[in-house]
Structure formats: structure tokens, C-alpha cells
């Protein structure tokens, strides 16, 4: 509760410190504009035109529906990875044998290119939600699993002993000794898992479905509609940045504060 209050209290200052980041993004957009002037509208539409397209797209009901479809798939896939990745990772971390066993399997999962997973999923599940959700799970599960595993593996035995010798009740032991440590590993893993999920969902949709933002991107490509394609990219990047920097980063800072 206290940390929640602290996150809220620090939030305005955190938000204000974003001006530097906004400045560098705007410098990048100026660079983009220069690229537009060199290569022309077909290859690279101007930022202004892209943002205008974006605005008109956001007022279009059908585009909103596509975004909702994509959101559903991404959150389902990410939710499943979050639940099972964290639970299994935490348990595996408690047992040396389990963590030893799981390591090579995780390497296989991480090492296999997502595009190959999509092909397999298309054969197994056909064209539809399941293919996309499966690919998202396969891509973000190992990241979260490893983070959770590290969290329990690296628990400080001395602290546990101290907690035991002081006879701490179980809930204090959990919330004050284990939880901050584990959470500081698991949470960043969630953040990177989410980023992965959001990228994979678009790719899977582009190849395996006829709806969602990925499919819209495929349509824009076939019609050589570069402004729409770029506007879609802006939506993807914008939403990812919003979730990561506005929602997750302040929590991450608070969670990792004790480390320094």
C-alpha cells in the first residue's frame, strides 16, 4: 500500500522527466521528415501525413475493431505465459534438479525462431485465434519462466536463516523477505515478456489470420498504402511505449529501489 502511494507521489516528477525522451523522439521524427523529402511520399510518407492518417483511422469503427481483436489475442497469450511462466518458474527455482533440467528446454524454446513456430502452429491449429495465441505463448513464456526461476534460485539463504531465528510469522517472511526479492526478478521479466508478446502477435496475425492489426498491415502492404502501414506501426509503438513507460516503468523503479 505504501509503495503504491509512493509510486503515485513520484509519478508527476517521473512523467515530467520524460521531456528529454520526447525531445529525442522529435529529433528522430525530424530525421524521418528529411527522409520523406529525399525519397518521396510513396517510399516514406511524411510524419505529418502519417499522423493525419492515424487520426482518421482512430475515428474509424472498423479499425478500432481490428485493434480490439489484436489486443484480445495479445493479452490472452501474454496472460497464459504470465500465469504458467511465473508459477512453473518459481517452483522450478526451488528445486536444483528442476532448474537444471529446464534450462536446456528453455534454450530450445528461446532458440527456435518464432516464424518457425508460426508455421507449425498453422499446421496444428489452422488459421485463427489459436495459432496467434499459441505463438505468443511460446515466445514470451520462456522469458517469464527464466525470470521467475532466477528469482527463487537467488534467494538469500542467510536472510531466510535470520528470519527463521527471529521467528517471523509466515506472512511477514513472505511479504518482507521473499516477495521483494522475487518480485524484483519476476517483474522485469514480465515487462520484456509483454514487449515480446506485442511484437509477435502482429507478426503471427500478418501471416496467419485475416483480421487484427497484423492483417491490416498485410492489406496496407498489398495496396502499397504506406501511410496506413506507418500509422499502424505508430499505433503499435505508441501503445507499447504507453504501457511500458507510463504504467510499468514507475512500478519497476519502485520495485528495484532496494537493490541500489
Amino acid at each position: 500500500m505504501n509503495s503504491l502511494l509512493k509510486i503515485l507521489k513520484d509519478f508527476p516528477a517521473y512523467l515530467w522527466s520524460g521531456w528529454g525522451a520526447i525531445a529525442s523522439i522529435l529529433l528522430f521524427i525530424a530525421f524521418w521528415d528529411a527522409g520523406n523529402q529525399i525519397y518521396g511520399d510513396l517510399v516514406l510518407p511524411s510524419p505529418l501525413e502519417t499522423f493525419k492518417t492515424l487520426m482518421s483511422m482512430l475515428q474509424d469503427e472498423s479499425v478500432i475493431t481490428e485493434i480490439k481483436v489484436t489486443l484480445y489475442r495479445a493479452s490472452m497469450g501474454f496472460g497464459i505465459s504470465l500465469l504458467f511462466g511465473s508459477a512453473l518458474g518459481l517452483i522450478a527455482g526451488f528445486f536444483a534438479t528442476a532448474s537444471m533440467m529446464s534450462r536446456p528446454i528453455v534454450t530450445i524454446l528461446v532458440g527456435m525462431p518464432p516464424i518457425a513456430w508460426i508455421v507449425l502452429a498453422m499446421i496444428w491449429f489452422g488459421m485463427g485465434d489459436e495459432t496467434v495465441i499459441f505463438t505468443v505463448v511460446v515466445a514470451s513464456f520462456p522469458i517469464i519462466f527464466v525470470g521467475a526461476l532466477q528469482g527463487t534460485r537467488t534467494l538469500d539463504g542467510d536472510l531466510k536463516e535470520m528470519a527463521d531465528s527471529f521467528g517471523l510469522p509466515w506472512h511477514m517472511k513472505f511479504f518482507d523477505v521473499y516477495f521483494p526479492h522475487i518480485f524484483s526478478y519476476v517483474f522485469p521479466a514480465w515487462v520484456s515478456g509483454l514487449g515480446m508478446a506485442w511484437k509477435i502477435v502482429i507478426m503471427a496475425e500478418l501471416l496467419a489470420t485475416s483480421d487484427g492489426m497484423g492483417a491490416s498491415l498485410a492489406v496496407a502492404r498489398s495496396q502499397l498504402d504506406t501511410p496506413t502501414a506507418l500509422a499502424l506501426v505508430v499505433i503499435m509503438i505508441g501503445s507499447l511505449m504507453f504501457i511500458e513507460y507510463i504504467i510499468l516503468e514507475p512500478i519497476k523503479r519502485e520495485v528495484e529501489l532496494w537493490r541500489s
Partner: protein, 422 residues
């Protein structure tokens, strides 16, 4: 050996910026009047009235009450004087006051020699107003000589082994070259339009102000916190200033080569965000500083400059509005003017041996400056009142300097309140 030790010790403490630690040696010149006892005193005594008088003169020139043709190019020369004429005074005060503090080996510049340099500045101003009679070359020589002397005075900063404040020196050298280029253009020796050179010069001035304000901020805010017993340290982080400086330089260079380009619009917005980012330094980890008047005053400088670049960028991206040179006044009348005023106020308190105090006068000075700037900057939105806004904004802009005369002139002509020399 002993002397070297103390010098080293003081050198280290020089970074701590204590109000009493202004210099290591004070020259033993006899019979120095208080108004020549330290570099900033004569500068402020002359600058405040000059700003008021020149505004009145400009008012009369623009309305045709007096006839000064300025070689048939009044607007360009108006911009020149508001930039370079005032810059030399401001830099003079900043360097002669700041250098002995930043580099404790530097001996304060006082007395007769100070008087001669100030006379050079005054001669530069007179030659400016009589340029149609005395000719552009005399104005050029006097004004360039003044800036050259300042660079000579600041040479230790550039040659400093650690290069702690060298950026200030380099910025001054660039400004000197721009001024020479401007005069060459006005004398027909260079082909670049004088106004384009002045726009680059404005960029260079903004860079210099950002660099100088980082130092002023550090001194003023930490002094303030020490005074109010706020147990924290304020650090103006160089990367933020550097990002702002970089953005402003890119904007300035691109504006020179491609003044109407849409990429320039985005660069304007980028410069706006980068300058605003500097204010995030005021968010300390534990303490809340935003209720301190001086934090608000100093932050306003960055806000006004940011608004200027932001509106200019927005203007360039928007086909329906043409007000870029009006919006530029948020940077000049606003950011630039307020930066001068704040330097005058902060030095006026601290270096006359007083506490950094805020009162109804300092509030009014800053507030009127903001009002005048907004009146001048929003002309494109209220075109039916253009002439009224021109007139009243320049009148309102001079009032802070009148208040300055009332509050600070008694301090400037009297010895330091704490009995320290200088």
C-alpha cells in the same frame, strides 16, 4: 608551499559555491568607489536604465517621432542591438562576477580598469545610435573590441586544463565571429543577408544562456536551500543542458539553410521539449522545491524559451498561421530578457552580501516580464490589436527594470552589506 596548499584547498571549495567564497585575492587598489568595487556593479547600474531608455527610443523611432534611418534597415539594427548590445553587458557582469568564483585564482576586475571597459561599452552604444553619422565601421570596431576584450578576460576558462567551463568560452568565440560576419554583411563585405546572420546569432545566444543558466541555477538554488536549511543538493545535470544545446544548434543551422522546411518544424518541437526537460532537475529525490519563488522564476526562463521554439515549430508545420517571428519573441523578450533580469536579481542580492530574497518587487518584475512577452508573442492571434500590443508590450517590458532601479540601485552604489570587500 603553505600558500599553494591553501590555494588548493580553496580551489576545491570553490566548487562548493559558498556565498562568502567569491574570490581568493582582492586587488589592493586605493579609493575604489563602491560602484566600481566589483564587475557587476557598473554593468547593472548602466544596463537597467539603458534598457528603459532604448525601449523609449525605439518606440519613438518606430512611431516616427525621431528620425534615425539606421542605414535604411531599422528592423535588422533593432535586432542587432537587442542581441549583441545587451549581450556584452550581460556577459561582462556574468564573467567578472563568476570567474573569480569558479576559478579562485582569478583576481576580481575592479576600479579604474573596470571603468575604462565600461566606457568602451557605453561608446559602443553611442556609436550605435549615431551610426548614420559616425558610420558602420566605428560601431563595428567599438563593439567587436568590447566582445574581444571579454573573450580575452575569459581566456583562462578556455585554457583551463579540466575544461570545466570551456563551453562558455567557445560559445563566446562563435558569437564574436557571428558579430564580425554581421558587420561585414552590413558594410557590404559579405553577401549573406544580415537578418539571416542574426537568426544564427540568436541560436548562439540561446546556447550561451543555457550554458550560463546551468551555472546560475546551481549557485542560486543551492544558496537558497542552504538558506532555508533544506538538506539536499541540487545538481543541474550536464546531459540535459547538452541535449537542449544540441537541439537548438540543429534548429539554428537547419533554419539558416532551409528556413521553410517541415523538418524544421519538428526540430522546433524537439528543441522545445529538450529545453523544458532541463526543468526536471528541480524535482529533487526527497524535497519539494517548486514552492520556492526563485525556482519558479528560473524555471520560467526555460518555459518561455520552450514555448517560443514550440510555437515556431508548430507554425512551420501548420499552413494556417504565419507568426514565426512573433513567436520568436518568447525566446528573446521572454527567455532572454528574463534570464538577464534573473542574473541581475540573483547577483544583486548575493554579491552585495545579502540573502537571496523574494518579495513583492521580485514577483512583480518576473510577472510583468511574462505579461509583456505574452502580449508581444500572441500578436498573430489578435491581429486587430497589433499596434496596441506592440506599444503596450514594450512599455510593460521596461517596468521590471524600473523596479530594479528602485530596489537594487541602493545596493549597487553602497558597500557590501556583510562587510566583505567587493
Amino acid at each position: 608551499m603553505d600558500k599553494q596548499m591553501t590555494e588548493e584547498k580553496l580551489h576545491q571549495e570553490g566548487g562548493a559555491l559558498h556565498a562568502t567564497n567569491h574570490y581568493l585575492y582582492y586587488p589592493d587598489e586605493k579609493d575604489v568607489p563602491p560602484y566600481l568595487a566589483y564587475g557587476f556593479r557598473p554593468v547593472f547600474l548602466l544596463l537597467a536604465p539603458y534598457l528603459i531608455i532604448s525601449m523609449l527610443l525605439w518606440g519613438m523611432v518606430w512611431s516616427g517621432l525621431i528620425s534615425v534611418p539606421f542605414m535604411g534597415d531599422m528592423l535588422t539594427w533593432h535586432v542587432y542591438e537587442m542581441l549583441f548590445g545587451i549581450l556584452t553587458a550581460g556577459v561582462m557582469a556574468f564573467l567578472t562576477t563568476g570567474l573569480p568564483e569558479l576559478f579562485p585564482g582569478v583576481v576580481p576586475f575592479i576600479g579604474k580598469r573596470l571603468k575604462y571597459v565600461m566606457m568602451l561599452w557605453v561608446a559602443g552604444r553611442i556609436s550605435f545610435w549615431t551610426i548614420d553619422i559616425t558610420g558602420v565601421y566605428l560601431t563595428a570596431v567599438l563593439n567587436l573590441a568590447m566582445l574581444a576584450w571579454l573573450i580575452w578576460f575569459a581566456k583562462d576558462v578556455v585554457l583551463d586544463r579540466l575544461q570545466r567551463h570551456a563551453s562558455l568560452g567557445y560559445a563566446l568565440v562563435v558569437i564574436f565571429m557571428l558579430e564580425a560576419w554581421f558587420f561585414a554583411s552590413q558594410a557590404g563585405l559579405a553577401l549573406t543577408p544580415a537578418m539571416d546572420i542574426l537568426k544564427i546569432a540568436l541560436g548562439a545566444h540561446v546556447v550561451l544562456i543555457l550554458l550560463a543558466m546551468r551555472r546560475v541555477n546551481m549557485e542560486a538554488i543551492n544558496e537558497l536551500m542552504e538558506d532555508k536549511e533544506i538538506d539536499d543538493i541540487y545538481v543541474a545535470r550536464p546531459p540535459l543542458t547538452n541535449l537542449a544545446v544540441f537541439s537548438v544548434i540543429v534548429f539554428t543551422v537547419v533554419e539558416f539553410f532551409y528556413p521553410e522546411n517541415s523538418a524544421l518544424g519538428w526540430l522546433g518541437l524537439a528543441a522545445a521539449a529538450a529545453i523544458l526537460a532541463i526543468t526536471s532537475d528541480y524535482n529533487l529525490k526527497d524535497k519539494f522545491l517548486w514552492d520556492q519563488p526563485y525556482v519558479l522564476y528560473l524555471a520560467t526562463i526555460f518555459v518561455l524559451m520552450s514555448v517560443g521554439y514550440g510555437l515556431m515549430g508548430w507554425d512551420l508545420l501548420n499552413d494556417d498561421i504565419y507568426g514565426i517571428n512573433h513567436f520568436r519573441h518568447f525566446i528573446t523578450s521572454g527567455g532572454y530578457g528574463l534570464a538577464y533580469l534573473m542574473i541581475m536579481i540573483v547577483i544583486g542580492w548575493i554579491h552585495t552580501g545579502r540573502h537571496l530574497t523574494s518579495n513583492i518587487y521580485t514577483h512583480l518584475m518576473v510577472l510583468l516580464m511574462i505579461i509583456a512577452t505574452v502580449m508581444r508573442g500572441v500578436i498573430p492571434f489578435f491581429e486587430e490589436y497589433t499596434s496596441e500590443l506592440y506599444l503596450y508590450s514594450s512599455i510593460v517590458w521596461t517596468i521590471p527594470f524600473m523596479l530594479y532601479i528602485k530596489v537594487f540601485f541602493p545596493f549597487l552604489v553602497a558597500p557590501r552589506a556583510d562587510g566583505v570587500q567587493g
